[in-house]
């Protein structure tokens, strides 16, 4: 039953902080970094005003932030942190450990470019570096999605069949600092949706002592990793159940991908993050002109929804993939994975790779149109990486 929601004009960071407030973590250990700081600052104000009962640990680095969160989650508490760019890179070692220990942690990530040179603006290089870490990775298109996906993530990570940490990504400055209209559920509904934290093998259960993080020799490590692989396979089914429940209370429907005017589209663009908003605008314009174009927005990047790409992109004339990060020495991440997913489809489309927006370089409708026009005229070379907005 859909509930009455409150409309607020807030930034993506504030939306994240509100979601966190309703999740009510027991422990938040975070270190400030632009552009994530407003999330932690807003949340700290909620704590100081007594709006949420959370203990904040003002750690001395992101590495310690994730370490403390691992300790708190293993102890049996609901624990969260947030970061960006080099902060995420610094905690990289522990990010892997958090997933390997199967701890249900939710971490909003505000996407920012990795150094060097140091750049505080948006691109996806930070989160792409964590692709193999074993975390579930979700991407929000706008502040509303930030709010909704963080609540969904809290349920997803703590589910018995999953027990994996989740990263919810939002584009730095573009979403995190842009004010939008966001509908917030009332506290009671949100809390009921997220539910009570269920600890599994908590350290604080002294009657049943457990050992976390032993030494594996070559006789067990492989089996432990296979278990993690298996856990990722359960995510889709659980996600589908959770988003259905969420639709019933919020009226908003989520899926691992969002097709936009895809039905009869000949040329499809695929992208992650806020750019999808701009792409929808261009799709609409080009549709008015009679071009059969569409968008396939990706919400869940890990686990990679291969089947969706196979079903929805099979038989198209052309697919252009926009990547907001480069993989030096190889094809761009999203492009490469989609191309590989389409290896065995019945009718493979033409494909083109477009890298854009690195270090916060703006993506304009003209640039998107250019990519679509390449697709429509069939002027695509699968092996050629092209750049949108780069000065040659």
């Amino acid at each position: 039953m859909q509930v009455k929601q409150k409309k607020m004009a807030i930034t993506g960071s504030e939306a994240a902080a509100h979601a966190m407030r309703q999740i009510e973590p027991d422990v938040v250990a975070a270190y400030p970094i632009t552009p994530q700081s407003p999330i932690v600052e807003t949340f700290a104000k909620f704590v100081a005003d007594g709006l949420v009962d959370t203990e904040m640990i003002p750690v001395e680095s992101e590495h310690s932030a994730m370490s403390a969160v691992v300790g708190a989650a293993a102890a049996g508490a609901r624990a969260m942190t947030a970061t960006s760019a080099n902060g995420l890179a610094l905690m990289h070692e522990i990010v892997y450990i958090a997933a390997s220990l199967r701890l249900p942690i939710v971490m909003p990530i505000v996407n920012r470019a990795l150094s060097a040179p140091i750049n505080i603006h948006c691109d996806h290089s930070d989160t792409m570096a964590e692709r193999d870490s074993g975390w579930i990775q979700l991407f929000a298109e706008n502040a509303q999605e930030v709010y909704d996906l963080i609540l969904i993530a809290a349920r997803l990570s703590e589910h018995d069949d999953v027990r994996l940490p989740v990263m919810v990504n939002q584009d730095g400055f573009i979403i995190s600092h842009g004010v939008e209209v966001v509908e917030i559920l009332d506290d009671e509904t949100a809390k009921r949706f997220v539910g009570e934290h269920k600890a599994m093998y908590p350290l604080l259960d002294v009657e049943n002592p457990v050992t976390y993080g032993p030494l594996d020799l070559y006789d067990y490590y492989f089996e432990h990793k296979r278990q993690q692989i298996e856990a990722m396979k359960h995510v889709r089914k659980v996600f589908d159940e959770i988003v259905k429940e969420y639709e019933e209370i919020s009226g908003r429907r989520y899926d691992v991908v969002e097709p936009y005017r895809l039905d009869d589209a000949e040329c499809v663009m695929v992208a992650l993050g806020s750019s999808n908003g701009t792409i929808k605008y261009v799709v609409d314009k080009m549709r008015e002109e009679g071009h059969k174009v569409g968008l396939l927005k990706v919400t869940m990047f890990r686990p990679f929804p291969k089947d969706k790409f196979q079903t929805l992109l099979n038989g198209r004339k052309a697919v252009v993939v926009l990547d907001r990060s480069a993989s030096f020495g190889a094809e761009a991440p999203l492009y490469s994975e989609i191309k590989s997913a389409l290896y065995e489809v019945a009718v493979r489309p033409l494909m083109g790779s477009y890298v854009y927006g690195l270090g916060g370089r703006d993506l304009t409708p003209e640039m998107i149109r250019k990519a679509f026009e390449d697709a429509l005229t069939g002027d695509l070379i699968a092996d050629e990486e092209r750049y949108l907005g780069l000065r040659e």
Binding site: R102, Y201, T211, Y220, E223, Q227
Partner: protein
């Protein structure tokens, strides 16, 4: 040696839930020297029990019972600390069949 478990049989996250199961691994085979205990000389001071790195000195209610040869690695700390020389280190070979 027990048959190694497959990935479906292990607890998740690399956790070990059977606390203290290291006792299934008998380190007594490491021994080169064996501590030999003479009850008559012992005054139950509990010093050897206190410091044994392998928890191989057995006591009950403050009374020495003996040495657990399943785990004793023969380091000799007990013999060294004993104020009454109630423990003597002898080559393990003397006790092989």
């Amino acid at each position: 040696m027990a048959k190694l478990k497959g990935w479906r049989e292990l607890p998740i996250g690399g956790l070990i839930v059977d606390a203290g199961n290291a006792m299934e691994y008998k380190t007594g085979s490491w021994r080169v020297m064996r501590p030999v205990y003479t009850r008559e000389k012992c005054i139950d001071c509990m010093l050897c029990w206190l410091i044994c790195p392998d928890m191989s000195i057995i006591q009950k209610d403050g009374k020495m019972i003996g040495i657990n040869y399943d785990y004793c690695k023969g380091c000799g700390l007990c013999a060294k600390i004993c104020p009454k020389n109630a423990i003597e280190m002898k080559p393990e070979t003397e006790f092989q069949e």
